[in-house]
Structures are given as structure tokens and as C-alpha cells.
């Protein structure tokens, strides 16, 4: 019961920070508010008994903030403001209508989910109780990641490699010159 109350408080803080980040005039403060959301997620993971995710998320969030601050350092901090045109009003109206519709259907849809904290293990029951015998891993998350679903991890590594190549290709300043 305590977990639920703490999570509610942290989620409300995260929503307030999200609104701050979207409406901030200074881009640097928007980036810092986004970092606050990420570190709030770390606390949520710790409360939900997911220590591995907390470690990974804290590293990923720090790297994201460093990259964003580096981008802002190279460019401008301030958002250019121009008078609101008709397009902004259309965007705002469509966003609000879309949000209301999605919320209605979401409330309708979560009635089939089990209530919070009453999840039953279906397919991962095998993973939990047989992991030590089959893989020898005492960390079940790593046992699933590196043994039962190792092909998924290989795909993830391929995605990471492709993205790194893409970033390298985008950021390269000079193209190769053919010398004849």
C-alpha cells in the first residue's frame, strides 16, 4: 500500500515537471526538467523492485542530458518566440481533442488488466523457477536477456551499431573526395 502512495506522489511530480519542460522559455531549463523526469523514473524503478533497470536508466539519463547540453552549448539557449498564428490554435485544439479521446478509450481498456500488484506469472514462471538450473544465472533479468532471449539481445546490438554508424555519417564534416 505504501508503494502505491509513493508512486502516486512521484508520478504527479513527474507530470508537473513534464509541463514545465514543455512550456519553459529557456531551453536549458527544459533539459534540466527532463532530467528530473528521468531521475524520477529511477526512483519508481527502485520502488517497483527493478534494480537493474534503475542502474541502466541512471546511466542513460545522464548521457542524454550531457548530449543535450552539448548541443545547446553549440547553438542557442533561447527559444525564438513569434506571435501565435492560426496554425498554433489548430495544433492546440487537435492535441486536446486527441488527448481526451485517447484517455476515454484507455480508461475503457484497462478494465481488463489485473489491478496494480496482482499480476500472475504466466510465461515467465518457467524463467523464474528454472533459470538457475538451466542457465546458472542468479540474476533472472540477465538470465533471460543473455540466455533465453539472446537473439533479441543480438538484434539490439545490431540496432546500436547501425545507430552509431548513422550518427558518425551525419556528424562527419567533410565528405570523401575522389582524387584522380
Amino acid at each position: 500500500m505504501n508503494t502505491e502512495i509513493y508512486l502516486t506522489i512521484i508520478l504527479i511530480i513527474m507530470i508537473i515537471l513534464a509541463l514545465t519542460a514543455i512550456h519553459a522559455k529557456d531551453l536549458l531549463s527544459a533539459v534540466i526538467a527532463q532530467g528530473g523526469i528521468g531521475y524520477g523514473l529511477v526512483i519508481c524503478f527502485l520502488l517497483l523492485k527493478a534494480p537493474d533497470l534503475a542502474i541502466v536508466q541512471i546511466v542513460a539519463e545522464t548521457i542524454t542530458i550531457i548530449i543535450m547540453v552539448a548541443v545547446l552549448h553549440d547553438s542557442t539557449r533561447f527559444e525564438m518566440r513569434c506571435p501565435t498564428c492560426r496554425r498554433d490554435i489548430i495544433n492546440l485544439t487537435s492535441a486536446l481533442i486527441l488527448g481526451a479521446t485517447l484517455l476515454y478509450f484507455f480508461v475503457d481498456a484497462i478494465s481488463v488488466l489485473p489491478p496494480f500488484g496482482e499480476h500472475t506469472l504466466r510465461m515467465s514462471a518457467n524463467y523464474v523457477y528454472d533459470a538457475i538450473e538451466k542457465t546458472g544465472a542468479t540474476n533472472l533479468v540477465k538470465g533471460v536477456l543473455w540466455d533465453f532471449r539472446a537473439l533479441d539481445t543480438l538484434g539490439e546490438a545490431a540496432v546500436l551499431f547501425t545507430t552509431a554508424m548513422g550518427v558518425l555519417a551525419i556528424l562527419r564534416l567533410k565528405g570523401r573526395v575522389k582524387n584522380n
Partner: protein
């Protein structure tokens, strides 16, 4: 149920930011908010109250001991890393756009295209 709805409101906040903002950096921030809300939703569904974290120090898991579902945690672990990679790629494109056009405003970039 309250937690699921709050999590979805966080998702909707990110979607609202994606639709109304004109600055590329703010679009990236909104995308990150959407990703964060989805990670949290998956972990919330997999939580079992009274369960232990899926890290076991003894050699045997007793059958009556509740353990938090490790499968959503694995998938979210993969997703966090991929989200980091895509974010850095979007930011690389943003910095190239700034070098070329001198602004982050997408309407201005649209006007300046030659």
C-alpha cells in the same frame, strides 16, 4: 487503477508537447517523456505486491516465494538502450540542421528551404 491513469496522463503530456512545440529540442524532450511513460507502464503491469526483486542470492527459488516478473524488465532494459541511441541520432540531425539554417524553429526551416 489510479497509477495506470496517472501514467497515461504523463504519456498524453508528452504527446501534447509533440503536437504543439515548434522547437526541435522541445520535440526531442517530448519524445523522451513519451518513452519514459511507456517504460513505467510496462513495469507497473509486471509488479507483484510482496514479491522480491528478481535477483536471487541462494541457489534455490522456493515455489511459494513471489518474484516480480522478470520478462517486462528485460524488454524495458532493451528499450531504454535503444531509446538512448535514437535520441542521440535525432540530436545529431538537429545540430546539423542548426549549422545549416541557424535556427531550431521548424516553421523557419520550412520557410528557408531552397
Amino acid at each position: 487503477m489510479t497509477l495506470y491513469i496517472l501514467c497515461f496522463i504523463l504519456f498524453l503530456t508528452g504527446l501534447y508537447g509533440l503536437l504543439i512545440s515548434r522547437n526541435i529540442i522541445k520535440i526531442v524532450i517530448s519524445l523522451t517523456i513519451v518513452e519514459i511513460s511507456i517504460f513505467l507502464m510496462l513495469i507497473l503491469i509486471g509488479y507483484i505486491s510482496g514479491g522480491i526483486a528478481p535477483v536471487i542470492f541462494q541457489q534455490e527459488v522456493p515455489q511459494h516465494q513471489a518474484v516480480v516478473d522478470p520478462l517486462p524488465q528485460t524488454m524495458v532494459l532493451t528499450a531504454i538502450v535503444i531509446a538512448l541511441a535514437t535520441n542521440s541520432m535525432i540530436l545529431a540531425m538537429a545540430i546539423r540542421l542548426y549549422k545549416k539554417y541557424g535556427t531550431f524553429d521548424i516553421h523557419e526551416i520550412n520557410k528557408l528551404k531552397g
